[in-house]
Amino acid sequence: MRKWTPYLLLIPTFIIIVLFIYVPAEYSIMASMQRILPFGRGTSYIGLTNFLKLFSNAEYLYSVRFTILYVTVTVGIAIIFSFLIALLLVKKIPGVKLFRTLIFVPYAISPAIAGALWTFLLNPIVGHVSYFFQVLFGVQVEWLTSKPYAFYAVVFASVWKTLPFNMIFYIASIQDVPEEIIESATIEGASPLNRTWKIIFPMVSPITFYLVIMNIVTMMFSSFAIIDVMTKGGPGQYTTNMIYRLYLDAFYFQKPGIASAQSVILIAIMIVVTSIYFKFGERRVHYQ
């Protein structure tokens, strides 16, 4: 009887996973090969036509390219900055707890609110950021409605939103780096720069790897709210990434077939990303 207990305990989780992940995923895969009329009035099997249509659709291909650019830039910046800020936040300086709390705030804010906040701050005429730009540099930037500023704005807001998450992990792992190693390196005459990049950074590399994977997932999926609120994929679909394209096709244009095909592509990408993590991440986690 005892050996059944673990399975029994897994049942609730399993039910939820099946109901909310496997069943919809299966539905998506089926729907991706169908042409579906409005309100599901009729469906017809059309094989891989939806996928072929997508790969010959310039707008979709653009959204793929944009996603790659957006994810690379945001993840890169978020990782580097969070590491640097975490280095500062582990220093034993007065008020560090307060700084940490303040810097964590963006993480507690929902992406939609974050988007709304930046939309307001970046308004070309009444926004505060725009005001400072005007005073400091004498330029009036249409942050959300012109190229390439819309991209900068979205990247900025996304990084701002993810930084705290990364910092929590970095602070914890930097604090875990054994004091003795740093001390002996200092005695051996390693410069602070060397200590940071040749000792601390490699020591926290498993966390970096984990964060890169997590950030890729966040930027690919959770970026939806920020983009929806800030630019709506504009100007002229300039900031439309894959998840926003999917939203438009599924919920705005009511094309469930095409949208399902897109979600199948996203599922495939996620399978690749997570299997990379399981393959390499698990192996390198025990570095000591």
Binding site: E142, T145, G236
Partner: protein
């Protein structure tokens, strides 16, 4: 371990049984009251949530046997999405507010009870009481599929105070593109670095205005008489009229006369006008009440005018926008009857007047307008008069009755994104218009399965 689980199971059982009893009791209480439950989903946010609830309460007071469950279900788009899911899982509400551009899709989805059938079968209902403009818009293939409820169109507001400051006649708003461009320079102020401090005009970046500007020039959007005499097969807005709109929009922007918002940012556009950063605003007539209030609060004198058209354009008009009420099929007859009663009630004059004065959406019945006129309402609220006159003076034909397109939402997005490409300088007006037409045709053909 096992014991613990059993204990938990027992707990669950107890909770389950309790819940069951509560549900049964609640159910029997409802049965005892013998009320017919009608669910009503709408997309009217803000203060209008309460207004609609109030109207439903009034209805329930008159019809104690009917319980109206009013639910705000997000934007028009969200509401359609929820309906889409609900219909496919057989939990659809009875009454849903659908927006103008979903009309064809809702008809194609065959989700609604055809309103015309109920109208024809109900001798107490007089369709003649409705404004012909409204009926022309909502009738498809000669039939009403839904009940007109909240109708609006585009209107131009201007800041008389800023006009005076610029040395312009506050009682002479621009009527044509040419006049608007001419005064735009005077209404635009720039600082010494060339940055715009005050712009002349603004409207939210939205295909809806393109549609309105086309109708104002009596030009169609799609073939087969705007999809009114047959299903549309292609977009035909790459015309002289279309080019004039795109060029006008582009010229205003390039000269710094116009501030553009991000996609569909109605609030952003309104705020620019309210904060007196722009002198003219083209927006929906449903904003009349809000604008009157805001102008008072911000100490400027409000003016209103018809939307402009090129000087040499054919006389056209404004297209009706807004929403209508759909009765969703598949409910027991007594429930559908109750829902029909409610929909009928909402379209009656007193309710339309209440709705109109509370929002700015204009009334859909002739009586309501007559009553308002008799009460002296239009002399007290001249901007509402502008709104209603613009509609009444509109030429009535297929071009001003609005297009009926299944892939309308997609077409809107295509037009708007090409406008954005034009405004950012990556396409000329002619290129943007051609690209938009081509993509819109493709969307239409895809929808129609051509």
């Amino acid at each position: 371990m096992l014991k613990n689980i059993l204990g938990e199971k027992k707990m669950k059982k107890i909770i389950f049984v309790t819940l069951l009893i509560v549900v049964l009791l609640a159910g029997s209480a409802a049965m005892a009251a013998d009320k017919i439950n009608v669910q009503f989903w709408h997309a009217m946010g803000g203060w209008r949530i309460e207004l609609l609830q109030e109207m439903a309460n009034d209805f329930m007071a008159l019809n104690p046997d009917i319980e109206i469950e009013v639910q705000y279900t997000g934007s028009y788009g969200d509401t359609i999405n929820k309906l889409n899911v609900a219909v496919q899982s057989n939990i659809a509400p009875h009454v849903v507010q659908g927006y103008d551009i979903a009309t064809q899709m809702l008809i194609d989805g065959e989700v609604g009870v055809v309103m015309q059938d109920l109208i024809d079968a109900d001798p107490t209902f007089d369709i003649g009481a409705f404004m012909p403009q409204v009926l022309d818009y909502y009738r498809v293939n000669g039939k009403l599929y839904c009940m007109p409820f909240n109708s609006s169109n585009a209107i131009m507001f201007y800041n008389k105070t800023l006009f005076e400051k610029a040395g312009l006649d506050p009682n002479k708003p621009p009527k044509t593109y040419e006049e608007l461009l001419e005064i735009a320079e005077k209404l635009t102020t720039k600082d010494d670095k060339g940055n715009v401090a005050q712009a002349a005009v603004c409207w939210s970046l939205n295909c809806w205005f393109f549609e309105q500007f086309m109708a104002a020039q009596n030009a169609p959007l799609v073939d087969n008489d705007n999809g009114r005499t047959g299903r549309p097969t292609k977009a035909i807005f790459n015309s002289d009229a279309g080019l004039k709109v795109f060029t006008f929009w582009n010229d205003l922007t390039k000269n710094g006369y116009m501030v553009n918002t991000k996609l569909e940012d109605w609030t952003g556009a309104r705020n620019l006008f309210i904060s007196q950063k722009v002198a003219m605003l083209i927006t929906s007539t449903s904003d009349v009440a809000l604008m009157v209030k805001s102008a008072q609060e911000n100490n400027f004198e409000l003016g209103s005018a018809f939307i402009p058209a090129p000087a040499d354009a054919e006389a056209g008009g404004v297209v009706i926008g807004g929403g209508s009420l759909w009765l969703i099929d598949g409910h027991p007859k007594n429930e559908t009857d109750a829902a029909w009663k409610f929909v009928k009630y909402m379209a009656e004059s007193p309710q339309q007047i209440k709705w109109h004065t509370g929002t700015g959406y204009f009334p859909v019945t002739k009586n309501a307008i007559e009553d308002l006129l008799a009460q002296g309402y239009y002399s007290e609220s001249p901007h509402n008069l502008t709104a209603i006159l613009q509609l009444l003076l509109s030429t009535q034909n297929y071009n001003t009755n609005g297009a009926i397109i299944g892939a309308f939402a997609e077409m809107r997005s295509i037009v708007a994104s090409n406008v954005e490409k034009m405004l950012s300088g990556s396409l000329t007006p002619a290129e943007a218009l051609a690209a938009a037409e081509k993509a819109a045709t493709e969307a239409i053909r895809n929808y129609e399965g051509l």
